[in-house]
């Protein structure tokens, strides 16, 4: 029966590098046992990672599709699978299947536009893929603004990459903020939604939001206040998933399956859904 | 046929609603047919007139609903309790599962409830109407030219055939006449199982439990199963499962549940009533009740509020574990 592929049957992935990002987030580099990328993906898509005997869970692919060598996953410790992964060392094998979900419309809607990325906490993980994709094809996009906030400086994901690579790019503006004042931090202090309003962006751009539900809600309200249209704002949803392909029924909200029809949604599409996400 | 009528119950409930004693009524809601009643909360006299029903198919034990409903409702809730339901009511009070002050309990007599599957076995399928008259049920079907007349006693639910008590052990008000605790034959079936060889008994349960679809209806209907979070629903427990990884696990679920409710199970029979696969789950519980009676003296869970079940009450007269073992050896 080995000749019939089934999406539920995963490939083997090897963790080749573990980077400690924050006190509760680690970034895992994964390749196949023969050192290749497990599969191609588009920005915003996800993969199912599993540890046999522990469980399987959906994670957004943090690395950019333009990275031809490996995939990366920034994973916050918050459940059985993630707890296990956090104690894994390089060389550890896991299983991987995907890619799943609808990506960000980077090649059509985003093309030629100014982009505004807004993330909170581990919400930067799915955006890192799209941000690096847009940086790679820099000439396809207009000005890029990135607003990113976390509880503290230590909780900022990819801090080194943000400072050393993103912030030094032409036409890319990075605005960092942390929730409370902290020694050694001379940047902005305050919550993301408020910071976004303070920054007061012009509305002729596409905005992408990712973070905790409460941050998304208030940021979206703020964007609408300063004149953004919801048809120009994208976000991602996260619900419990098992199959990844819209069959097991778990992530069904309204007529949509988050694993298959999402995780990327345009904010006006979300309004059509019942408020169960 | 029940001695108390729908009209009497509606009148009582209406009085209590109107004079402000209660703000809601937990009763039986009318269904599509004459037998598919649904536990329903009524808030007005009009709702009662339109939707309240009482007949030979009002088997559901309301006691467990009080745990959630008393939390939600302002003022008191009126609950109608059949004698067997009052035992669960007391047991839940013993376990501090709801606030007694938020309940107005009206005890109602019960002549035993009918099992629709037994009715259909006699009348045939395609029921158009079921009438009740004295001790007879008159069943009109789509296929028989004449209505089929059935003796109510011939279609009694198993738990009602073995009714343990017509006496209400808890109420604020009693409608009709009080009954007595009955010397039932409810342990006969247990004795029959005990008389089997271990292999026969294993085969019996193997056959019965093989039908289990793990819907959890037995647990969810059980008035003794009121844990806020059941171990079988907890992914971190290591035993959580919707369906068995193997056959053995299925048996384990029912046996663990029986152990968990031992000493607290009042033998209300809801588990077997709700089982979609007609598994006689109550026999597991009854076996434990019988054993506890034999080992520690007669004990009826829920007979009074605050009583301590033998398994959680040490006395110096308690049977030595060794003797329990010896008796089991003699039984096997």
């Amino acid at each position: 029966m080995n000749n019939i592929n089934d999406t539920l049957i995963p490939k083997i992935g090897v963790i080749t590098d573990v980077r400690i990002d924050t006190p509760d987030i680690k970034t895992f580099r994964v390749v196949t046992p023969d050192g290749k990328k497990a599969f191609d993906h588009k920005p915003g898509q996800c993969a199912m990672l599993s540890v046999p005997g522990v469980g399987e869970a959906m994670f957004s692919i943090t690395s950019s599709p333009t990275n031809e060598e490996f995939m990366e996953f920034s994973i916050k410790k918050c459940g059985c699978v993630t707890d296990w992964l956090h104690q894994a060392e390089p060389g550890q094998q896991i299983t991987i299947r995907g890619p799943y979900g609808k990506p960000f419309p980077v090649d059509d809607v985003f093309a030629g536009k100014d982009l505004l990325f807004i993330a909170g906490g581990v919400g930067l993980a799915p955006l890192r893929s799209v941000i690096n994709y847009c940086r790679h094809y820099r000439d396809r996009y207009g000005k890029i603004d990135i607003v990113y906030g976390s509880r503290s400086k230590d909780d900022l994901l990819d801090y080194k990459e943000i400072i050393e690579e993103w912030a030094t790019d032409d036409g890319v503006n990075v605005h960092l903020t942390i929730d409370n004042p902290q020694e050694g931090w001379d940047g902005h202090v305050g919550f993301v939604p408020t910071y976004v309003k303070e920054l007061g962006f012009d509305t002729n751009k596409v905005a992408v939001l990712c973070g905790p539900p409460i941050m998304i809600k208030f940021t979206l309200d703020g964007l609408c206040e300063i004149g953004f249209d919801k048809t120009n704002v994208y976000t991602t949803l996260e619900l419990r998933m098992k199959c990844g392909v819209g069959k097991c029924g778990r992530c069904n909200v309204g007529a949509k399956y988050v694993c298959k029809d999402g995780p990327v949604f345009r904010c006006d599409e979300l309004e059509e859904l019942p408020s169960e996400y | 046929m029940q001695k108390i009528t729908r009209e009497q119950l509606i009148q009582k409930a209406s009085e209590l609603l109107e004079n402000g004693t209660v703000s809601a009524v937990l009763g039986w809601g009318i269904g599509e047919f004459d037998y598919d009643v649904t536990p329903t909360v009524f808030s007005t006299v009009e709702e009662l007139r339109n939707g309240f029903v009482f007949n030979d198919f009002c088997g559901a034990n309301f006691s467990k609903y009080l745990v959630k409903k008393t939390d939600k409702i302002e003022g008191k809730i009126l609950v109608f309790l059949k004698p067997c339901d009052t035992y669960s009511f007391n047991q839940l009070l013993t376990e501090h599962r709801f606030d007694r002050e938020k309940v107005y309990a009206v005890g109602i007599p019960c002549e035993g409830m009918a099992d629709i599957a037994k009715v259909k076995a006699i009348s045939g399928d395609g029921i158009a109407a079921i009438g009740s008259n004295g001790d007879k049920l008159t069943v009109t079907t789509l296929y028989a030219d004449e209505p089929v007349v059935i003796a109510a006693n011939d279609v009694l639910a198993e738990r009602c055939i073995n009714c343990k008590s017509k006496k209400h052990v808890a109420y604020d008000e009693l409608m009709g006449e009080e009954g007595e605790v009955i010397e039932s034959n409810r342990f006969d079936e247990v004795a029959r199982l005990e008389a089997m060889t271990a292999d026969e008994r294993f085969a019996f349960w193997q056959n019965e439990l093989s039908r289990c679809i793990r819907c959890n209806a037995c647990r969810d209907a059980c008035p003794a199963c009121t844990c806020e979070k059941c171990v079988f629903d907890n992914p971190n427990s290591g035993v959580e499962n919707k369906s068995p990884a193997n056959e053995f696990e299925e048996k384990l679920f029912h046996i663990i549940r029986a152990y968990h409710v031992a000493g607290r199970c009042t033998d209300c029979g809801e588990c077997s009533r709700v089982c979609p696969q007609n598994i006689p789950l109550h026999l597991l519980n009854r076996k434990f009740i019988k054993d506890m009676n034999d080992f520690y003296g007669e004990y009826q869970a829920g007979a009074e509020v605050g009583s301590r079940a033998p398994l959680v009450d040490y006395t110096t007269e308690d049977l030595e574990p060794g003797e329990v073992f010896d008796r089991r050896e003699n039984n096997a």
Partner: protein, 342 residues
């Protein structure tokens, strides 16, 4: 059309079972019927239908998906799928045959579920017309005619004979193999039975149940209907309706450590269960009302929205018979649909 005398039915079963495993409804010790493998001496049940639906044949309650062997940091994925022989399911009612179409749209849409597809491709379905529908039947509401069951072969049973007509190549081939035990006949008896069934259908209590209030695009209109509170009030949150339902197909994937490796299996799951949507950091349906609503909205609105208006209910009535509190899709449709549902 071919017929076989009921006196010879066991010979017919024997003949079918020569070439393929044969499953048919048989009485269990509790009086209900279940699909069981035919063996010499098996008796075909007279029951209208089985408690468990035949979805088990294609989507079993539990099935192994794969196994893993782990050694140190290494993992090996073991494909546990096995080749399957053809099997025949006999006596499937029209409602249940229709349920396979509904399941197909989920499992056979891309990416195809190979576990389901394999079973489906090996199953031969012999359906059976319902001469005596129950008061709980409402298949007509969903456009199903119990007098015209589909499947690979359609069958009609009279007092004396059973009549067969093949609908597919698979069915035709099977019927040809049975030619020694069947004889060619006209359709007089079947036409007569169809007329009788039609007449009964006019008398069923749920004959006027309508779907007009439901269908794709009605989420906004129905989701916040105040009736959901009352309808879900007494729901125990058990999985009876889901598990007896021929069209419910939600599943869970779990790992089981055998002590000698890990088996990953899937099993039926229910949106009625409190942990169905529970995640490490929250749950998007915290109340039984939300979970109850999800089940019916899915069958009556979401599924049709994604499947050309096809409802995910076949009116088999199992939930009407089995729900511990007698709450079911008919009551939901009448209450939520208001006058339109009458």
């Amino acid at each position: 059309m071919r017929k076989c005398s009921l006196e010879k039915i066991n010979l017919l079963f024997k003949e079918i079972a020569k070439n393929a495993e044969l499953y048919l409804p048989q009485d269990q010790t509790d009086g209900s019927a279940a699909y069981k493998k035919w063996e010499e001496g098996s008796v075909w049940s007279n029951a209208l239908n089985t408690v468990r639906s035949p979805k088990d044949f294609f989507f079993p309650q539990t099935e192994d998906l794969m196994a893993f062997k782990t050694e140190g940091k290494n993992i090996e994925v073991i494909d546990t799928r096995k080749a399957l022989d053809d099997f025949v399911i006999f006596g499937v009612r029209a409602c249940d045959v229709k349920s396979f179409d509904i399941l197909d749209r989920v499992f056979l849409s891309e990416p195809v579920d190979s576990f389901y597809a394999l079973r489906r491709s090996h199953g031969v379905i012999i359906s059976l017309a319902c001469s005596k529908p129950s008061e709980t039947c409402f298949c007509k509401t969903f456009g199903i005619n119990p007098a015209e069951p589909t499947g690979d072969i359609s069958a009609w049973k009279t007092e004396t004979d059973i009549f067969f007509e093949s609908n597919t190549q698979k069915g035709k081939e099977l019927l040809e193999k049975l030619s020694a035990l069947t004889e060619e006949c006209d359709d007089t008896a079947v036409v007569d039975q169809k007329a009788k069934i039609d007449a009964i259908m006019q008398k069923l209590p749920l004959k006027d149940l309508k779907t007009d209030a439901f269908g794709g695009g009605k989420t906004g209109e129905l989701f916040n209907a105040p009736e959901w509170d009352e309808l879900s009030e007494a729901c125990l949150g058990c999985g009876t309706c889901t598990f007896v339902c021929p069209t419910c197909q939600c599943y869970d994937i779990k790992d089981f450590n055998t002590g000698n490796g890990v088996i990953r299996f899937r099993c039926w799951d229910s949106c009625m269960y409190s942990d169905f949507t529970k995640m490490a950091h929250g749950n998007n349906r915290l109340t039984q009302k939300e979970r109850f609503r999800q089940r019916f909205m899915h069958k009556l609105v979401y599924y049709p929205e994604n499947n050309d208006g096809l409802f995910s209910c076949v009116g088999c009535g199992r939930c009407l018979v089995k729900c511990p509190i007698s709450m079911n899709i008919v009551k939901v449709m009448k209450k939520i649909g208001g006058k339109k549902g009458e």
